[in-house]
Symmetry: C2
Subunit: 217 residues, 2 copies
């Protein structure tokens, strides 16, 4: 992978498996665009905590949101946090389990979380989160003022980020290649099922084109 891009700080310097790493913003954005769940980590007096969250991205920021009372997001305000997005692409079976691995794409972003207070940025961020996997914001009832007041939005700059990608089969010891053991990898494939109407859907309402275009009907 590209080594042209230097890490933005020492703490996002890749140390293990450097040949699989990158600080290229294009690579980082591609992985974040393909991912669907962010694991958000904060340090608390009671030890670290990591929770899965939806997220959205723009050019230079990753956004997560939650209820205004969400303890993790509240403790994240103005503190250092880490947001990690991982896509699992397959399992790697080596000649020895010591070299078993997984194929994956992963981005780790570190930095100081900022509460998004500006009303315009807040709505823009919520739209980015809503539209992250499939454009959906415009298809629904716009959020009310009450909805917005109930929601806490946290921003983290993409400045301090690193990516790691592992692809393909195992990397075995040379002396194991002549042995009797198989080596290879098995891709993990994800696909969408057909949209399922809500049990309380009114008769005659169809999914919007934004949904059927991506998921079928």
């Amino acid at each position: 992978m590209s080594s042209e891009h230097e890490p933005a700080s020492d703490r996002v310097q890749l140390r293990r498996g450097v040949h699989r790493g990158s600080h290229d913003p294009v690579v980082i954005r591609e992985i974040l665009a393909a991912g669907m769940v962010a694991h958000v980590g904060v340090s608390t007096d009671d030890g670290p905590i990591v929770l899965p969250m939806a997220y959205g991205i723009d050019e230079d920021t990753i956004y997560v949101h939650g209820a205004s009372a969400n303890a993790l997001l509240r403790s994240a305000r103005s503190h250092e946090i880490c947001i990690t997005v991982t896509l699992l692409d397959g399992l790697v079976f080596a000649r020895t389990p010591f070299h078993n691995s997984m194929d994956y794409r992963c981005v780790v972003v570190r930095g100081a979380a900022r509460v998004v207070d500006d009303p315009t940025e807040r709505v823009d961020a919520l739209r980015l989160i809503t539209d992250h996997v499939v454009d959906n914001w415009s298809a629904g009832r716009p959020p009310s003022d009450l909805d917005l007041r109930k929601t806490l939005v946290i921003a983290l700059p993409l400045a301090e980020a690193s990516a790691k990608i592992r692809e393909g089969g195992p990397v075995d010891e040379p002396e194991d290649l002549d042995g009797p053991h198989w080596g290879g990898h098995v891709p993990l494939v994800t696909s969408w099922g057909i949209p399922i109407d809500s049990v309380d859907l009114r008769v005659g309402i169809e999914p919007p084109a934004t949904i059927t275009a991506v998921f079928g009907k």
Copy 2:
């Protein structure tokens, strides 16, 4: 979900979406058995860090491993850590994006990490990690003493754990149900591709039965 099981500590008390949560060890184990990637969080002087790792479980412990030089695992030794396992099961589209959500299964485990020094427990733990998704330990060349020396194994008790499961379609505001907007959910389906031989595989070596039984041939 079950509310018979009390949280083991205040810090794994569920606070948001309590009706979707559980402290039932059976539920927790089912999710951990189905998951494939753990997001491991530690607090460092430089802020929290969260990295994806393979894992294994036995009755009362979750194990992760890495290179002996792995900075995250080294800083985790004898410290509080958090291990979170999430399976994404689908996307939920509400009548308003404010109520959009995801279907998922998630387990959060918190506690003090312990380095696994005992040689027997170390090998047992590595076997649990290797065999977590598909039994594979016995099919390969056993790890050498050098392999084992290069590997750091960390254990975290499952004592302080909580589970959360979200299933099905959206939960909308009553006044939105008569509106013009669609609501529903789209399942995410994961499946395995066909095993791909390593590029350096010797002619005549076939995948073992443990692989073909799960992934086909």
